[in-house]
């Protein structure tokens, strides 16, 4: 069965990759390796279908791993239901975020590209320290400088941010809850952000 070998190859590739593996990369690697068999014509759609098959198989209750779409690629991760067990296995403790850092991170995530001054306006407090610590944790990166007097840095979230929070892309961020004055108990939803961010273009 050709499909079976292909499927196995896809699983092995995603498993062995250190970073989430993109569909294009998987297709390219497979087309090279199975060259004789496809005349170099391996369709991305075909590969995608096989990936979906694999993903479904891992959904089974008896499986402890799932195949996720993270930062535009595919990656195996353990299922959330086994978190406490795995925390016992791992010596390292999960990274901890202070509240101030998380506030700044949320503002950067939803309002990017954003300057430090804009973050400070929103938080009402100096945010140089927390922005620096987010940069150190690689959750945030400098996108460039704003073409205004003083040329301040502009910040955005990194690819690692997506990986850390298990997001396929920024559109998967939870919606911001907008306070609506008229309906007392109802909170309006606002689309998280303009999804046209040149995310990958910026990604170095």
């Amino acid at each position: 069965m050709e499909d079976m070998r292909l499927k196995g190859a896809i699983e092995a590739l995603i498993f062995a990759s250190e970073l989430p593996l993109k569909l294009e990369k998987i297709t390219e690697l497979l087309a090279g390796d199975f060259a004789g068999e496809f005349d170099g014509h391996l369709d991305k759609k075909e590969v995608k279908t096989l990936i979906e098959n694999i993903r479904e198989e891992y959904e089974d209750e008896g499986r402890g791993i799932s195949l996720l779409e993270i930062a535009g690629g595919y990656q195996f991760r353990t299922k959330t239901c086994h978190a406490s067990l795995l925390q016992k296995l791992r010596a390292k403790r999960p990274p901890k975020f202070g509240r101030a850092a998380m506030e700044a991170l949320a503002i950067i995530a939803y309002r990017q590209p954003v300057t430090r001054a804009e973050i400070e306006d929103l938080r009402g407090v100096d945010s140089g320290g927390v922005v620096r610590s987010l940069l150190e944790k690689r959750l945030v990166k400098i996108l460039g400088k704003k073409e205004v007097p003083g040329r301040p840095m502009i910040y955005g979230t990194s690819r690692f941010f997506l990986e850390h929070f298990g997001l396929r892309d920024l559109s998967q961020l939870p919606s911001l809850k907008e306070f609506v004055e008229l309906d007392e108990n109802e909170e309006g939803m606002i689309s998280p952000l303009n999804e046209e961010l040149p995310y990958d273009a910026i990604e170095g």
Binding site: L68, R77, A83, Q87, D126, F165, G166, P174, L176, F179
Partner: protein
């Protein structure tokens, strides 16, 4: 020399206002300005008493609140012409608070999302076995505001107090740091109150409090509470590494 504690990553004035609104169960759309200004200034006073580095932002907000309060006292008819359609003087502040609240809530939501190395784990590979001095559990760390309120209760119970007579040179914060460490190494974790000896003077209370802040800043101790506005407990960061909830 005065003992100066700078807490750089603590929340700002907007957070303090939200804290007060929540604590007093106020309607954010209809804030009683007199009450909130009063409460806000009390907090600033405590911070100053503690010789905390009260950031300029806090002072600016205090001025803003007092300005709004004074405007609220004026009859609407005497409102200046420049104020378009005699709008609510609180409007600007409420807008800022709502905008800030939106991101604060978003940040809480982010924190509750499935995170790498917390809920989901990657294929194993060898990494440096180092235990970070941090932890996350069901309880949450208290804010500076919570601590200040607890302090203010303690001070109320102690004898009359004049901040200008506080002589910090006499009671060493360094000594208090030693005492707290000793208590914690004997007990593991303590309630906030049990850090303070009964019938201690106000100077003593303040010195202990400053020592606690200093230890928190050095990340040697952690203050947390099981629920919002619950009992504050202090534990040693070094000792609590093993526990996972």
């Amino acid at each position: 020399m005065n003992y100066q504690v700078v807490l750089d990553s603590f929340e700002g004035p907007l957070d303090l206002l939200l804290h007060l609104i929540k604590k007093h169960e106020l309607d954010i759309m209809d804030i009683p300005v007199a009450l909130i200004t009063d409460q806000y200034l009390k907090h600033i006073d405590i911070m100053k008493t503690l010789n905390l580095d009260v950031a300029g932002e806090y002072i600016l907000m205090a001025a803003t609140l007092m300005h709004i309060k004074s405007k609220m006292l004026l009859p609407p008819s005497e409102e200046e012409e420049t104020e378009e359609d005699g709008g609510d003087p609180r409007e600007e502040l409420v807008k800022r608070l709502l905008e800030y609240k939106k991101y604060k809530e978003a940040s809480e939501e982010l924190l509750s999302m499935d995170m790498l190395d917390r809920e989901n784990f990657l294929k194993g590979f060898v990494e440096d076995v180092e235990i970070e001095d941090s932890e996350e559990d069901a309880s949450h760390d208290v804010t500076l505001f919570d601590l200040m309120e607890a302090l203010s209760d303690l001070l109320k119970e102690a004898k009359a107090f004049n901040p200008h007579e506080v002589n910090r040179e006499k009671i060493s914060v360094k000594d208090k740091i030693e005492i707290i460490i000793q208590k914690l190494s004997a007990e593991g974790s303590l309630t906030f109150r049990s850090l303070f000896d009964k019938a201690s003077s106000k100077n003593d209370i303040i010195a202990t409090f400053l020592a606690l802040l200093e230890l928190m800043k050095m990340k040697r101790v952690r203050a947390f509470q099981g629920e919002t506005f619950g009992v504050i407990r202090i534990s040693s960061s070094e000792k609590s590494l093993g526990t996972v909830h």
